[in-house]
Assembly symmetry: C5
Amino acid sequence: MSEKASSLPAVPLTLEGAAVLHQMYRLRWPEWRTRAAIEREYAASEFAQQFAPLEQAGASAMYSLYGHKGDLMFVHFRPDFAALKQAESAMAKLRLNDFLEPTTSYVSVVELGLYESTGKTYHDLAQKNIAPHSEEWDAGIKDLVARQSEAMKPRLWPEVPKVQYACFYPMDRKRGEDKNWYMLPLAERQRQMHEHGLVGRRYAGHVKQIISGSIGFDDWEWGVDLFADDPLVFKKLIYEMRFDRVSAEYALFGSFYFGMRCPAAELLPLLDGEWPK
Amino acid sequence: MSEKASSLPAVPLTLEGAAVLHQMYRLRWPEWRTRAAIEREYAASEFAQQFAPLEQAGASAMYSLYGHKGDLMFVHFRPDFAALKQAESAMAKLRLNDFLEPTTSYVSVVELGLYESTGKTYHDLAQKNIAPHSEEWDAGIKDLVARQSEAMKPRLWPEVPKVQYACFYPMDRKRGEDKNWYMLPLAERQRQMHEHGLVGRRYAGHVKQIISGSIGFDDWEWGVDLFADDPLVFKKLIYEMRFDRVSAEYALFGSFYFGMRCPAAELLPLLDGEWPK
Amino acid sequence: MSEKASSLPAVPLTLEGAAVLHQMYRLRWPEWRTRAAIEREYAASEFAQQFAPLEQAGASAMYSLYGHKGDLMFVHFRPDFAALKQAESAMAKLRLNDFLEPTTSYVSVVELGLYESTGKTYHDLAQKNIAPHSEEWDAGIKDLVARQSEAMKPRLWPEVPKVQYACFYPMDRKRGEDKNWYMLPLAERQRQMHEHGLVGRRYAGHVKQIISGSIGFDDWEWGVDLFADDPLVFKKLIYEMRFDRVSAEYALFGSFYFGMRCPAAELLPLLDGEWPK
Amino acid sequence: MSEKASSLPAVPLTLEGAAVLHQMYRLRWPEWRTRAAIEREYAASEFAQQFAPLEQAGASAMYSLYGHKGDLMFVHFRPDFAALKQAESAMAKLRLNDFLEPTTSYVSVVELGLYESTGKTYHDLAQKNIAPHSEEWDAGIKDLVARQSEAMKPRLWPEVPKVQYACFYPMDRKRGEDKNWYMLPLAERQRQMHEHGLVGRRYAGHVKQIISGSIGFDDWEWGVDLFADDPLVFKKLIYEMRFDRVSAEYALFGSFYFGMRCPAAELLPLLDGEWPK
Amino acid sequence: MSEKASSLPAVPLTLEGAAVLHQMYRLRWPEWRTRAAIEREYAASEFAQQFAPLEQAGASAMYSLYGHKGDLMFVHFRPDFAALKQAESAMAKLRLNDFLEPTTSYVSVVELGLYESTGKTYHDLAQKNIAPHSEEWDAGIKDLVARQSEAMKPRLWPEVPKVQYACFYPMDRKRGEDKNWYMLPLAERQRQMHEHGLVGRRYAGHVKQIISGSIGFDDWEWGVDLFADDPLVFKKLIYEMRFDRVSAEYALFGSFYFGMRCPAAELLPLLDGEWPK
C-alpha cells in the first residue's frame, strides 16, 4: 500500500434515512382474558383506528411473532428520531398498552453503505492532493453524500413491504484478537461486501432486505430486516450468505425475531386465538 | 483444488419439510391450586379434547419436563408456517393457557442436509460446463431438490415418535477465529458429516433423531430432537458423537430439554402431582 | 500411534446408576409470613411426613443453601428416570410447593467413568482382531460393562451421605480452538484422569464425591456433589485439583451451590429463622 | 526500551471530578394508568418542583429513552459521592418512585486522562534521578495533579449540556490473551489515545463528550456520555472512531442508552403519551 | 527446573479464617411506602436492636449501595459456617425481610495466601528428601499452617473496618487457552503476587483490603473487599493494580458493589429518603 493510501480514512461513507423502531411485546394473557369483552374490543378498535392508516402508508406494521420471544412485533419507520419518539409515545398511550409487556426492542436508522464509491472518492480526492479532513476534502465528501442521498431517497425512506413474513435480527462485525473486521484495509472490506452483495442480488424479487445502522442507538452495530411471502427464503438466503467470508469470519448475530404479518384490523381475532383462519 | 472447484458454491443443498414449534411452559402452581376443581377439570378436558387427536396423528405431543426449565413441553409439527401459527394460536386460546408461563420456545423447520449429493451434483454440473447460478444450473439444482423431496417425504413431514422420552437441544456450527466450520471446503465438511452419520446409524432402532433448521427463525442454526424409550441412550449417543471431529471442534450446544411423554388425557393427574403412577 | 490404535473408538466407557435431581428453591417469604401458623405447620408437617423416610433411606436430602441462589436445595437419588419423575411430582404436590419458587435445578445420572479399563479393553479386543462396533466387539464391551456394573453397584446407586455440608456444581470439558479435551488421544485423557484421581484419593475419609453425567439431560456435561462435615475441605480439594492439567486446562465450571444439611423435621424452625440453634 | 523507562510506572495519571449517576427506569404503566388524575399530577408536580432547579443548574437532566431498556433516564452530576448519595435518596423519596422500576444504572466519576503529561512527567522525574514512588516522586506527581485539576475545573465539574439528545454507554479496554491494552507500553497507549482524540476533535461543536471512570464503582472501566442536537452525529462519531486502533483492537462496549431530553415540566404529558408534540 | 522441583505440589498454601456473607437487597419500595408508619418503624427498630451490637463488634455492617444493583448491602463476618448460617437465619427472621428482595449475595471465607512461605517450605521439605504427601510432609505443612494461623489470627478473623465506603467484587484467575494462571510454575506465580502486593502496600493507611476465598462456596474464586474513607482511592488502587502482570493478564472481574456505610440506627431515615443529611 502506498503511504498515501495508508493515510486515507478507514471509515466507509454511509447514508442515513428513516429512523426505525422495532417493539416486541408479550401479551399479559391472564389480564387480557379477565377483562370484559367491551374493554378488549375498545382496546383493539382504538389501536386499529390509529394503526391502520400508518399500516396503509407503509410507515408501521404489526407481526404475530412465532415462539415465546413475544406475541407481537411492531415495526415503525419515521422521517427522523423526533417523529420516532412521537410514534413510541402514541403506542404507549393506547389502552392496548396496559396488556403489553415489552420483551425487547431495537432502535436504528436506515443505512446505505457506500463501500463502492467510498474507495473511489477517497482515491480521487487524494489524487487531487486534497488532504483528508481538510475543508476541501469535507466539501467533496459532503457533495457526494448529498448527491447519493437524493438519488437513493426511496431506499433511504422505504415503506414496510406488504408481504406475509418478516425476519429481524441485529448483528456486529467481529473484532476478535486475530480476525478483526475494523483492522482490514478498506479495499478488502469493499471486496468482501461486494461478494456478499452478489448473493443478496440472486434473491431479488423473493426477499426485500432493509439494513439499518444502530451504532450509538442500540447494542449491536446493525439491524437486518427481511421481508418475504415464502418464509423458507429467509433460511435459504441467510444460510447461503453464511459461507461468504464477510459472514463466515466477521459476522456476529443476535436473536432472530420471526413473525407473520397481521393487519391492525385483525388484532382482536389474533388475541382471541382465532387468527389466522 | 482446481480453480473450477474453488469457484463452486460452498453452501450444501437442503430439503425443508414440516414447520416445527417447541413450547416450554412453567405452570403457575399457586394460581392452579387455588382454582376450584371444576375450573381445573374444565381446563384439562378442554385441552385433552383439542390435543388428543393431534397426538394421535403424530402432529403434536406433550412432555413433562425434568427440572426447573419448565413443567410442560409441547412439540408441534405442521405442514407449513401458516399452519404452525394456527397451532400456536389454538394453544393460546385454551383456558389452560391462563395457568402457563412460557419459559422458552424454539421455531424451526425439518431439514435434511444433502451433503452427499451436493458435492456430486455441483461437480457434475461443472463438468458439463454449466456456470454456477446460471439458469441451467438453477434448473439442475431445482430438479435434484424436487426429486429428493419426493423421495424423502416421510422424513420431511414426520410424525412425533410415540416413545417414552424426548430430548431437545439447539446447536450451532462454530465460527471461531481459527476453527471455522463455514470456512472449511465443502468436501471436508461432507467427510466429517459422513463420519458423524456413522455413529448415529449404530443407534438406529434405539433412538429416533429429527433435525430441524432454524437459521432465520430462531437463535441457533439447528434444533435436534431425540426420541427413545430408554433415556440413557440420549447420553450414550451424544457422548459418543462428541468425539467426532465435527462435534468436538465445531459444535456449540444450547440448553437441553429432557422430558417424559405424557398423554393429553393424563394432564390433570400430572398437574395434581399424581402422575406418573 | 499405530493405524490400528488410531481407529479405536475415542469414547471412554461409562457405567450409569441412579437418576439424580437437584432442586433449588427460594421461599416466597412474604407469602409464607402472612399465612396462619396452622397453615405453615400443616405444610411443614406434610412435607416432613413424606420426606423423612426418604431422608432416612438416603434417597433424598434437604439443605439450607447459603446466599441468594436459593433457600432450600433438595437432592434426590432414584433407581431410574421414571422413579425420578415420580419424586418430582411428589414434591410438586406438597402444600409447601405453594411457597417455593424454583431458582434452578439439575438433572443427571450417577456415572462411573472407566478410563482405566476402557483403554485396556479396546486394546485387548483389537489384539484379537475384533473390529470396533462388530457384533463380537459389542458383546465384549457389553460383557465388561455388565461385570463392572455388578461390582460397582453400591457406588452406582449410592445413598446421600449423612454429613453436615454439601457442595454441588456442574462442569464441562473445554472444547477450545486450541485446547480441546475431545481431540486428545484416549491414552492422554486416561493419564490426566488418573493424575486427577490421585488428588481425590488424598481426601478420602474427609469428603465424599459423587459424579453424575448430564449429557442429554441438562446444560453441562457433568454434575459434581461433594459431601463433608468440614466445609473448608471443599475449598481445599477443589483448589488443589484446579492445578491438575485436566482441571487447569480443560475444566469449565458452572455455579456453585453450598448448603448445610437440615433434617426434614427442622423445616419449620428453619423457615421461622430459628434454625440452626 | 531503556532499563530506566521499563521500570517507570505503567499507570497513566488521571484527574477526578464530579460523581456521576445514571438511572434508567421503566414506568409501571398499568399502575400509573389506574391512579386518579390527581395522584398522577401530584407525583409529576412534586418531581418537577424538585428537579427543575437541578436541571436549570446543569446538575441533573431527564431523558425519554428510546426502546424497551427504560422509559426514563436521569443523569446526575454532583460534587462528590456523599452528595451523589443524597441525590439518589432524593429520587427515592419522590412519589413518582412508586411508579418506577429500575432497569439499570451506572455509577462513575468524571475523569480526565493525562496520557500526554504522564509520559513527560515520569520521564522528567526519572531524568532527575527521582525514584518512582519515593516521597519526592509522589510530591512531584501530586503537584502536577493539583495544577492540572485547577486548570481543568470546568471540565472536571461540568454541567449537563442543554441539547436535544444523549447517548450513554459503558466500555472496557480489552485484556485478551493476545491483544491486551494493559500490557502495552505507556508510550504506545499514549500514541493510540492521541490518534483517537484527533477524531473526537473533528466533531467539536457538534457533540459534547464527557468521560467518567468507574473502576471500583461499577462493572465497566469507563462510561461515555455524548450530547448533541443531531442524533445522527452519535453514529458518525462512534463509527469513525471504531476504526482507530485503540477502539478496533482494544474497546469492549456495553449497552447503549439513547434518549431525547425532556424538561421536568413535561413529565406529565410524556407519561400521558402526549410528548413530544 | 530440576526434576525434583517439577514434582513439588503446585498449590500454594492458604490460611482460612472468618466465614463471610455479603447480602445485596433491593427494597420493595411500593410495599414499604404503603405500610403504616408504625409498621415501618417497628421493622426498622427491630432490625436496629439486633444489628447494632453486631455492628459495634465489627461482626456485621450495613451499606447503602449506589445504583440499581441493590439498595442495601449487609456484610457478615462469623467464626465459621455454622455461625454464618445462624446470621443468615437471623436476617431472614426480621420483619424487615418482608420488604427486601435479594438481588445477589456472596459466600466466602477470609483467606491469607502464603505464596512466600509455600515455595520455601516445599523446597526445605524436599531438601530433607521428604516426599510430597508423605506423612512427614503433611506433618510439616500442618505445622507451618498452625504456626502461621496463630500469628495471623487478627487478620484471619478481622472486624469490618469502621470507615465510610466499601467496594466489593469477586474475581477469578484466568485459565485461557494460552494465558493460564494455573499452568504457571509456583515460583512465577509467587513473583507476580509479590509484585502485586507492593502496589497494595503503597495504599496502606488509605484503604483496608480483605481477601476471601470462595472456591466451592460461590461462583468466583475470590471475593475482594475494600474499605476506605475516600472512595476515589478504590479507583486509584484498582486501576494501578490493573497494570500488574497478574491482573493485566490473569484477572477476571465480576460485578462491583459500591456503597456508603449506614449505621443500623439510620435505617429508617435511609428508607424514607432522608439519609444522608
